[in-house]
Each structure stands twice: as C-alpha cells, then as structure tokens.
C-alpha cells in the first residue's frame, strides 16, 4: 500500500521534460515535490500563475500570492501572472500537458465525480469541470476505496459527474491503472498488494495488463 506521498511520487514519473502541469488540491499538490532530476516542468495554478516555486518562508509570505488551493506560494524566475480568463484559456486551449486531480469516483469509461454529494456536500466544481473537459492527459490521484471501504472505481459513477470520458490514468494507494475501451486495466501493483486484492476492491470491469508489474520507486 502506498502512502499519499508515494502516490504523488508514482505520478511524478509521468512528468516529461517540457510539460506544463496543473495540480489539483490534496495529493496532486504533493507531486511537485518529486519532479525527477534533469527534466523541466512548469506548474500552473488556475488562479493565475505559471512557474510556481516552493512554499514561502515566513519572510517571503505575500497575501497577493496564492495557488488555487489558497495556499501561499512563491514563484521562480521566469514565472508569469495573468488573469483567470487567460488562465482558463490555457486550460481550454489545451496548452497544459498534464492535469492531476483527486476524485470521489471514477468510472470504467473515464467519467469522474469530485464536486458534489447531493444533500451533503456542495463545495462547487471550481475549475475542475474546465480542466477535465479540456485536458488530453488526466491522471486521477485517490484512495482506491472510500472511508466505508467501498470501491471508488465503478462501472458507473453514482455521484453527479464532473466530466465524462476523460480520465486516462489512475494512481491509488493500491495500484496504477489505465482506462481503455471502457475497462480499468491494471498496469502496476503497489508493493505488497496482490492482484486479487485489487480485484476485490474494484467494482468496475478490471482486466490485468500482460505487462502488469510491481511499482518501482
């Protein structure tokens, strides 16, 4: 089983030199900690910054400088600020190469639900609907099951959708899976996790890749 940090670390291997990356709130944000050496990526935050750096020291804190999760940030030399209009232009126009976000449910068709639990939680979709409707390369970072132990990888999402047919890859605490032809394809297992265990907690159609292997770090 992977920790949240390890999920982020596994996802960081999907980063390629020259990628512009949008990281969602939660586990996705941690991906920035694991950029492989020797490759350059730039992090975009949809509230209007490209070229985010580390979190600030106490002295560097600036109230006018936050990320989409409302956390204080810094920028690297060569960064740029822009307004929300241009920011979502980048997203909608597919200028961002990789989007990583969390989810409450993902379906075997690549549908994703992460913004609303009717009658219980209504936080809003923020920029997630724009991101999933536009990005060509979407990775979901999440736990394989919810707090009640139920699978979050479903035949069909039960919660209101954020987007349809858009997720291409999922990294959970148990496995890395791709979505192909309306099936989850098990590509990699977390160390110490068995195929049968993943099968048991995956409600959607699951096929095992011929090249299925144990994740390496």
């Amino acid at each position: 089983m992977l920790t949240k940090e390890q999920i982020a670390q596994r996802i960081s291997k999907e980063l390629e030199d020259g990628f512009y990356v949008n990281l969602g709130i939660g586990i996705p944000t941690l991906v920035a900690n694991y950029v492989p050496e020797g490759i350059n990526v730039e992090f975009q935050s949809e509230n209007g910054v490209l070229g985010m750096g580390p979190f600030p020291t106490k002295e560097q804190v600036d109230a006018d400088l936050i990320n989409a999760g409302k956390q204080t940030i810094t920028t690297l030399p060569g960064a740029s600020f822009f307004d929300s209009e241009l920011s979502f232009g980048m997203i909608r126009g597919q200028h961002i190469n990789l989007t990583v976000l969390g989810a409450m449910e993902v379906s075997q068709s690549g549908d994703i639900a992460n913004w609303k639990i009717p009658g219980k939680m209504v936080k809003g979709m923020g920029g997630a609907m724009d991101l999933v409707a536009s990005a060509e390369n979407i990775i979901v970072a999440m736990m394989h099951t919810n707090r009640a132990g139920e699978s979050k990888l479903l035949k069909q999402c039960r919660l209101p959708l954020t987007g349809v047919n858009c997720v291409t890859k999922i990294v959970t605490n148990l496995a890395m899976l791709t979505i192909e032809k309306h099936q989850f394809v098990l590509q990699e297992l977390a160390p110490g996790v068995s195929i049968d265990y993943v099968k048991g907690v995956t409600e959607g159609e699951l096929v095992i890749s011929n090249n299925c292997k144990v994740m390496e770090f």
């Binding site: 600030p56 020291t57 307004d83 909608r92 409707a133 536009s134």
Partner: protein
C-alpha cells in the same frame, strides 16, 4: 492639463477623470435586488472596502457573482452573515460554513458554474460577445437545459454573457484616468469583471499621478472604469498560510 500641438492647431487636452473621493461616492446607486460582480479568488484580491460599505449600506436581496463566497467572517461572508445576498453565482464555496447552512436550508439561491465559464461570461459581457461555446460541463448537470453543439467531434455548451449592474473590483495601482494594474495572483477575476457591468467601480491600494503607469503595462484601460478610489485600508487576510518549513 497638458498643452499640445496637434497638426498646427493648439488644444488643451487631458484624460477623463474617474476618481471619486470615497467608497460612499463609489457605491452610489447600489440598491436592493441588484446584481453585482465581485472580484477576488478566495480572499485574494477582494474589494475589501467596497464589501465593508455594502455591509454598512445594508442593501438586501443582492445577486452576487463571484468565484467564491468568502469565509464566515470576511469577504462576501460578511454579507451572508447579514443575509444581504439572495442569490450567489460562484464556482467554489467550500470555505464558508454559513454559506452551506443558508444554501441547504433554502435561504440562499445558489448557481454553481465552472470557473472558466464564469470568467468567460464576465469577459464576454465586457467585450460585447453575447454568447460562446465551451466544453466545460458537457455531460454533467451543468449542461441541463443548455444547447449542446459539436465542433470537430467534440461537444460544447452554449453559455451567455453575464449581466450585472455593478462590478466591484480591486487593483494594486491606478490613476485618475481609471487605468489599473494588478499584482501577483490578486488579478484573478478582477481584470475581466472590470468593464463587464453597467457601472464598474475599482478600488486601489495606491492612486498614482497620470503618466506614472507605463502605458504598455496597463491591465485594464480607464475606458472600462466608471469610478476609481483609494481604499482606506487593506487587511489582506491570508486564508491558508503555508510555509516551506
């Protein structure tokens, strides 16, 4: 006033002044039932002085379009506390418990809109585009009742320009002509909203003399601004202080 020679004929000419001296003057004309565009992302770049004045004015039954709804005791949360907002149009409202209470109890109408669509609707109003197509929300409940059209094998929704009485935005520096510049991520929705309403009010941290802003670097030219004023004070509250150590 500047003295210029224009094609051999002399004329006096200076910019059109948008400056007002107080937040009271700036918000003159805002009444119950109006629709307001309010800039900011979370608590970053919000028009603090205008919001405080709305509280003081105690105007009611407002429709507010803003990316977020503030926190319980700051930003638009201050208006929610006093039940001044009838309807909220936003993309993310997760930081405000009072908001959730009023929404779930039915006291508050809420229209949740994808963030990119929300800002593009403001931009469209500003730019005289009545409607545009966007992929955000296709196949979700956001698409219900909306026209769907396919371009290049991809589906899009038809979305409309926002329609508002006032915009209340906040900039870093501005001049009397209404030209403004923003700093950092405090720009966010402010740039597109400023110019999108019938009357556009902007508050600034610093009012600088005409000519002090580089004309190449103005984010919103004064033509989009009807009233500009220097905010009395800025708390600039930080929502999630996150440090590297």
């Amino acid at each position: 006033m500047f003295f210029c020679i224009f094609n051999r004929i002399q004329f006096f000419q200076t910019m059109i002044s948008k400056k007002v001296n107080s937040v009271q003057q700036a918000l003159e004309g805002i009444t119950d039932y109006m629709t307001l565009l309010v800039g900011g992302f979370g608590l970053c770049g919000i028009p603090e002085n205008a919001i405080a004045e709305l509280v003081r004015l105690n105007v009611k039954n407002l429709t507010c379009l803003s990316n977020n709804a503030g926190v319980d005791n700051f930003g638009l949360g201050l208006l929610l506390q006093k039940h001044q907002i009838k309807k909220m149009i936003a993309s993310y409202v997760g930081e405000n418990a009072e908001f959730e209470r009023q929404m779930l109890s039915g006291d508050l109408e809420v229209d949740l809109i994808p963030q990119g669509t929300l800002v593009e609707r403001c931009r469209s109003a500003k730019m005289g585009i009545p409607a545009f197509f966007t992929p955000a929300g296709v196949g979700t409940e956001v698409a219900v009742g909306k026209e769907v059209r396919t371009f290049n094998n991809k589906q899009y929704l038809l979305e409309y320009a926002a329609d508002a009485d006032f915009s209340l935005t906040k900039a870093w520096k501005g001049d009397e002509a209404g030209n403004i510049v923003f700093k950092g991520t405090a720009r966010n929705f402010n740039q597109s909203m400023c110019g999108a309403a019938k009357i556009n009010v902007v508050e600034v941290e610093e009012l600088v003399p005409l000519g002090a802003l580089d004309p190449n670097e103005i984010h919103v030219p004064g033509v989009f601004v009807q009233r500009i004023f220097k905010g009395e004070k800025y708390e600039k509250r930080i929502e999630k202080l996150t440090l590297s150590e």
